[in-house]
Assembly symmetry: C2
Homo-oligomer: 142 residues x 2
DNA sequence: TGTTTGTGTTACTATTTTAATTACACAATC
DNA sequence: GATTGTGTAATTAAAATAGTAACACAAACA
């Protein structure tokens, strides 16, 4: 189903609510309702992308590498989605057919124009926004 | 890899270039470089969505149900992508955690706002546009 | 009328992605 | 040096996707 983006956003929102206090992969896993090793794998990617850091050892855990207001959903998406393709194009159509010969490049151009717009929208939302939404929902529900 | 959208667009562009002359699944399959049965499965979905029709029997095949200028990539996307979700949200986070409890609905709202923009972009491009791109590329290459 | 061409659908297999789980060397803290 | 916790590799399981074969049925046409 590919929920990597959603899970990564969950992790970052969780870290944001921790407000500078390190969170262990086990704690995060209990919020996501999965397995610590899976969380660590996600964190490893997020750390590579410069969005999180970790403190080793006892009392350690993961932290946001910068304020949640400066981490956008586009940052998350790019960190977690290897090829960064929202829509993929089939390979190997028949080069002897006028349509088959061009469809790949034509479609890639058209699709990437759409993706640029999508990415721009993703860049407008931050982890701080998401956390604010969560707080609001909890406030309203309480 | 999920290339359903791309293959469906390929099929429709191909039908558009046929200019009202029915195309058999075998002919289309040779352009896409795959299997007639797979093409027929795609066509079945496109027909259900009202984008194509077929003529049975000898000399039969698939046809566009309306002009390519009135079939948008959004029509194609909706015809072929069952759930219509560009980005999916993980299910079953921990309801006893303030973040886990709200992340699902918050993320769905934020993501669907982004998707609306994406869909609007997809609706701006038609099969006629794609075919025009293909013709231009072939003209320039020749 | 019966042969041919081609659809629509089912059932099945193979491949690829994705997620889940286990295991363990290593790091830092107390 | 015991404990807590990371990072990563290896494995298994599950789900999504694509590919293939088979066949009843429909229309055309000789």
């Amino acid at each position: 189903m590919n929920t990597r983006f959603a899970v990564a956003t969950h992790i970052l929102a969780f870290l944001h609510t921790q407000d500078g206090f390190p969170a262990s992969s086990e704690l995060i896993a209990s919020s996501v309702n999965t397995n610590p090793a899976l969380i660590r794998r996600h964190l490893s990617q997020l750390a590579k992308a410069g969005l999180t850091t970790s403190q080793m050892g006892s009392g350690g855990g993961a932290l946001l590498a910068r304020p949640g207001s400066r981490i956008s959903l586009l940052d998350v998406y790019k960190a977690v989605e290897a090829d960064g393709k929202l829509i993929s194009v089939h390979e190997g159509p028949n080069p002897r057919c006028p349509v088959g010969r061009q469809i790949e490049s034509v479609l890639k151009d058209r699709v990437s124009a759409v993706e640029i717009v999508t990415m721009r929208e993703l860049s407008k939302v931050t982890i701080a926004d998401v956390t604010r939404d969560i707080d609001a929902a909890n406030g309203a529900a309480a």
